[in-house]
Symmetry: C2
Subunit: 252 residues, 2 copies
Amino acid sequence: MPPLPVVEVIPVGGIKRIRKGDDLGKVIADAVQAQGTPVRDGDIVVVTQKVVSKSEGRLVELAGVRPGKRAVALASELGKDPRMVELVLRESTRVVRKGHGVLITQTKHGFVCANAGIDMSNVEAGYAALLPVDSDKSSRKIRRRLERETGKRLAVIVSDTFGRPWREGQTDVAVGCSGISPLDRLVGKTDPYGYVLRVTQPAVVDEVAAAAELVMTKLSMVPVALVRGVSYKRGESGVKSIVRKRSLDLFR
Amino acid sequence: MPPLPVVEVIPVGGIKRIRKGDDLGKVIADAVQAQGTPVRDGDIVVVTQKVVSKSEGRLVELAGVRPGKRAVALASELGKDPRMVELVLRESTRVVRKGHGVLITQTKHGFVCANAGIDMSNVEAGYAALLPVDSDKSSRKIRRRLERETGKRLAVIVSDTFGRPWREGQTDVAVGCSGISPLDRLVGKTDPYGYVLRVTQPAVVDEVAAAAELVMTKLSMVPVALVRGVSYKRGESGVKSIVRKRSLDLFR
């Protein structure tokens, strides 16, 4: 029996602080080359949302934000900075839950998460980073640039750190993807015991994002990882295609 | 600068069909040896819930289950097998949501998931597999046996495939762990920009479970994976310690 394929998660360091307008695809291509881990065909390049947002100019200086009445009231209720709440409301289509100092909203992308994915870690003091406007499109742009630069067929995932109901702690999930189908559809296939799988659709992009986080924690200045050896389908439906419809959602 | 540490996810194949009473720690020790990937100090051994449940005799023949009134009514409402619903109710402390053919309950462990984690894939026809009674304890038992057998310091995670609100698809999460602290606590630490992280606690056990799934899909008969190179803290608080208190949970 040939050995089973191993998955490798390779951190990519040596990336400078990213600023608005930086060509992220080029920066990543240079970094993997410089550290001696050039990309190979099929590699999945995971990029944290923070550097994507920076390159796209999605940083907002809090001092310049004028909170409206609703933001002031919510901030007071939850013990939050009213300017931050104002940004959250601007990036959201609705508030899903609030309480215990936590504000869960639905973003314009359809994601349900704390603070519309806005946070202040790993940015210059006094600034907040918003999610990319269209993180599937951001992924596509980075993938195309990286493929052109390296001559390899790649997939790109933009990841962010989300909390979840029912469990403490956070995991990284995909907020955008390109060159990879977000779900590995097994529905209708048969397991080794002859049972037809009815609902199983591993969310491979979220599992890859979680795996990547293992080598790029928030303290380490590693905003990119290569995930190598994953069997996946190519596709361009994006993470937006796995946002559950509100009409089918039991928790919205 | 020394190269950054790579994480490897190594599938473990060649594992026979597990039956009640099988010594899973010994089976895994033999399998990693046989395939030429002996464990090393610090390796995290991820074991799917299904084989743990089998070794612990947690299979139930559906033909022998007599559904009660509540199960019959719920099954009819949701279009499910009443015997299956009866098992779900027996393993649960409460129904959290129902609708669209889905039954979300809180298990006796405190997990909130579909069908109390019970399913019929990868088991003999006509049987359903329940979650282990205490999956942290199961993890500990496997870890100790594996450590005795191999002479290495290890961590063990028992994983299962859970759906999630708001997104289609499933990811593997930890339902039990031993030798590893489930959260990698960063709270109060300072990021490279000087920002004090306030809520960040990566759920390393869930990220490792997700990474492991990438090499052991339901169709491949790979119920075990080694995850090597992850930086983690040892601990015995178990997955039960990250179940959010109901009083703090906005979605229960």
